[in-house]
Symmetry: C2
Subunit: 621 residues, 2 copies
């Protein structure tokens, strides 16, 4: 039993259904609709489509132009007033004022072409359509014939069936929508109405992508309308003062009652400061930052959220959570507007974090036919092997040596670091960062040195320095009873001491490169593939960007014979964060990646131990 | 590409699918499953089923007994140890330890019979299965072969795919699940994990149902495990001091800057006090109250949420929100545990509130073939007409007179109120509440008086008191130049004054009863039905409970000829709140009812104005 006129507004019992074919940029949708539907009604039946009809189909804004053909009845008056002759000739009509009484074809491909495509920095195209959307709406004022409540009126215009809204915003709702005569901009994420701004503010729409490295934090300010990177800031991770690496920070939380809280505050305050700096430099308003998307390794994301990382440190290495985490900024204590949603990209396991998921996203391994290998060499070495049919990953404790840690004269990539070592006229030469006098050796040079020691025969394939090679390019001296190769002589350094590479340093490199090579081999064994099956090798991570491919291949860090397939992709984690901030689809893809990737625990793998022993030596010439 | 053993764990490519037939108490489910699934796997494929398997299918708790027949492989060892001979003879097996390699039939009818059925107070049976569930879990401790993160481990055991959890609870998660060796009770609502309690606390599970009337607030403490009403408290609505009725309270918010906040605090504090009283009287712990479900008219729910009701007061009578509202108790400032979820049942419109939706739920109008009429006579008079095919509703400004307001000597249903008036030996007699000396006239007596005035010919059918009827049962005197019937003489009252019913009082009753009768007729006209089509008339509301059916029919308040179909249902709104607290399905049904009910605005209805004029007079004898 329904009221007579209501029955007519819905689908009348005797109405016939018609078919609509809707062309989108990358798909074709078919659906049924009852006689008398407007073209806007039909378009709104497609879930997840963000069609721009500010006045909600009341024929007032003249913005819902679409190309539509078929059995239609457009409004002639409105078209004469608002359409050009060209548009009319091209079958352009107003979606809300055109009724369909038979089959129709609706072409939305040009309608959505205005959506920006981001190509810079990624090499991959994707539509800018962030998780947090802004929509300008021209609502109709209530009247006796339309007594919908304020929230319903808003939700209908946004095409949201079950809106979610905070009590605070709900309390402000009646005032806000009436402030500019029912013209309002809604900030929306899925079903959630995050903020409401009177008038049209769709131009002011920003987000921040963050990569929290154990060593360095990078934050990108993104224009969520144009897709542009507005600005970038980076800084050392302020947690460094409480522990240089993941394990020492976890230990700090175990050894200090408020250790976790201290570490949490360090990073949270750092993010607040970076947001402030970005806002200040770019002269935008903080309230127009609606989203922050964060990547980092599993320990970094735990510390950010104040989650106890204790169980990550010891077997069986169990995190509190690996799924994506999303809360408003105040829940994190990050000083952004309370409406700003902060999202942490999912992790895979205790030692394969959001940074790796993000790297997989950025390199597109997960959707390729070809088998790819991704090696992220940071403080740890994470390895991913796979393609669109599935991915395996593992983590090796490989990083510290390559970042200069555990190396007697090792330093990070700072001014004065020896960053390249080579032979010229039979003599050892080097370059330093910023051409300063040398202060130590950083990762890329460490690989060069080992490669050269082997090439010149000063070191044998077991890693032993041969002291009797007196005529070699390297000068070998004794330090605490063990041989060491001099890289920079005392008169070249400010300190007045030689910069040497010791036998112990070689052992550290052997452990590290052995772990990575063994990790790769273990994943290959697990999948029954060989090196020949690998079509792409992506080297990610700060250190990877400066690596000499030749040296890495020479010492067996990277699989021999893959030299022509190696691509250095830089900060893939940060890139994935940018993509996830700009596109809801990319962000969602991270969750799919997380689910698809299978983690292989190396600490209990007999195969890995076998491979590790095999890979410890350097390739025999 | 997948790992070999992982492929085997999933559905192998060469596996065949089998069919399971699952018998539930009120339905029969058929589904497909791959060879090698456990019976528990199969049961878990049924969405929304709350099957009790505390250890999550690890064969440790011996609780997942089910009757299952077909091509199965049970664990003989476990059955010998834990099952009785009787159970074995009846095909009882452990769901998690029984593998199915062909078609099976699983009988869960007895399994779920232990779910309590609540019949008291309602007359309708429904399963106690509240929105907020408690599940006791025996999780497996993590190991190298099972490195799931803590949240995943919990979500898997709860059979929740995308868990929602607060940051605070997430922070406590690792400690809480380890406190009692991975035995924990989870408090869950849909996908949301609300609280975690080490050990088995499923016995301590309470909720509160609240009916916020404009005049009276009633709160019921409910045992969410047994379905029993543990206790009830009621109190006058503390907002009364700031306005007696809906309109005066809305005006108070308009006329006072902090008026809305004052009114909000009154009701919020009252709810906190009532919760305290219930907890204290019943000797339960406040932290074990996990849900509060609230009904009330639209203005009451707006004031509770601090939502500006201004636009409800004037045409077009637009509320801020009519959908169900749900937030944690602290968001409302209600002093319950932060985890307690407070849910306000949805409204229909500015003058058809959650109380009416709740009344429709309790009377089951929405699911009956028969056409029913529901009249809720409180401060307003709301009318619903309909059945399972649809419902219309309207609101009339009918109530105040029947609650004693606008009546010169009117009072509420308090001690000393004249509550019944009748003729005995040709003389007017009355009773009072608590047999006290009379202090005024309450609603039920008001109807009696008007019916008697007409019956005795002291009043004509236009409502005019006939002063020349000197020999009638009623004594007619003059007050301020207008006639009035004496109900209680000066020597019977403490004040020493007569208690009279004036000509003006009769006009008030005429307006009120005319509005309700006209409302009913308007809904009948709108649906093309007649009074004869109505099979049930439900009279709800505090006043309705005490109403004399005969008097109401005599004065034309209720449709003539429907006397035999009238059922007085008391506080249907409160009853619906109880049902919604005890059952998630009933709570969900409220949202369906809200969507199904069509609101008819009488203020702009020409048909209503016609009927109103027709119904103003009393039935001619």
């Amino acid at each position: 039993m329904k009221k007579e006129q209501i029955v007519e507004c819905d689908a009348p019992a005797n109405s016939t259904e018609h078919a609509a074919e809707i062309l989108l940029e990358d798909e074709r949708v078919e659906l049924k609709f009852p006689t008398g539907s407007t073209v806007l009604d039909i378009i709104n039946r497609i879930e997840g489509l963000n069609f721009d009809a500010p006045c909600g189909g009341k024929g007032r804004c003249a913005k819902c132009k679409v190309k539509v053909t078929g059995d239609i009845f457009p409004s002639e008056d409105a078209e004469k007033e608002h359409l050009t002759e060209d548009e009319m000739a091209q079958d352009i009509h107003f979606a809300c004022m055109t009724t369909a009484n038979g089959n129709v074809e609706i072409d939305l491909r040009n309608t959505f072409k205005s959506a920006k495509i981001l190509t810079e920095h990624t090499g991959y195209k994707f539509t800018v359509d962030p998780n947090i959307r802004k929509s300008f709406l021209m609502l109709e004022a209530p009247k006796l014939g339309d007594q919908r409540d304020d929230l319903q009126r808003l939700a209908d215009a946004l095409n949201i069936e079950k809106p979610v809204i905070s009590k605070k915003l709900l309390q402000k709702l009646p005032g806000l929508i009436r402030q500019d005569d029912f013209q309002i901009t809604a900030v929306v994420s899925g079903r959630q109405i995050i903020a409401l701004e009177p008038g049209d503010t769709t131009d002011q729409h920003y987000g921040i992508a963050v990569d929290i490295g154990t060593t360095t934090v990078v934050a990108y300010l993104l224009d969520l309308k144009s897709g542009e990177i507005v600005d970038v800031v980076s800084d050392l991770n302020h947690q460094k003062s409480l522990g240089a690496d993941v394990i020492s920070r976890i230990n700090y939380t175990i050894q200090n009652d408020d250790g976790l809280e201290q570490l949490r505050q360090k990073i949270v305050n750092e993010l607040s400061q970076m947001a402030n700096e970005l806002v200040r430099k770019s002269n935008i308003r903080k309230k127009n930052i609606y989203t922050m998307v964060i990547v980092g390794n599993t320990t970094m994301t735990h510390l950010l959220c104040g989650l106890d990382p204790t169980n990550i440190a010891a077997a069986p290495f169990v995190p509190v959570v690996t799924d994506s985490i999303s809360f408003p900024a105040p829940t994190f204590d990050i000083k952004l507007k309370p409406e700003c949603i902060v999202t942490v990209i999912p992790c895979v396991s205790g030692y394969v974090g959001a940074d790796i998921v993000s790297g997989i996203l950025a390199t597109r391994i997960y959707e390729q036919e070809d088998l790819s290998l991704l090696i992220d060499i940071g403080t740890n070495g994470e390895i991913v092997l796979g393609n669109k049919d599935g991915m395996l990953c593992c983590a090796t404790a490989a990083g510290p040596a390559f970042e200069g840690a555990h190396i007697s004269r090792g330093v990070g990539g700072i001014s004065g670091a020896i960053n390249k070592v080579y032979l010229e006229g039979g003599e050892v030469k080097y370059t330093t960062i910023d051409d300063q006098r040398p202060i130590g050796i950083c990762g890329s040079a460490i690989i060069d040195i080992v490669a050269l020691l082997q090439e010149t025969g000063v070191m044998d394939h077991t890693g032993r320095l041969l002291e009797d090679k007196k005529d070699a390019a390297f000068q070998i001296i004794q330090i605490e009873g063990l041989p060491a190769a001099v890289i920079a002589k005392d008169d070249e350094t400010d300190s007045g001491f030689d910069i040497c590479f010791t036998q112990k340093d070689i052992r550290e490199v052997q452990l590290a490169k052995g772990a990575i090579a063994a990790g790769v081999n273990t994943l290959l064994l697990d999948t029954g593939k060989t090196q020949d099956d690998i079509k792409n090798v992506y080297i990610a991570g700060g250190f990877g960007s400066f690596l000499s491919k030749e040296s890495a291949l020479a010492i067996g860090l990277l699989p021999a014979g893959l030299g022509d397939r190696i691509k250095v992709v830089g900060n893939a984690a940060g890139l994935g964060a940018i993509m996830s901030t700009l596109s809801a689809k990319e962000l969602e893809q991270c969750q799919n990646i997380k689910k698809t990737v299978q983690y292989v625990e190396l600490s209990s793998s007999a195969a890995f131990m076998d491979e590790y022993l095999k890979c410890m030596n350097f390739p025999e010439k």
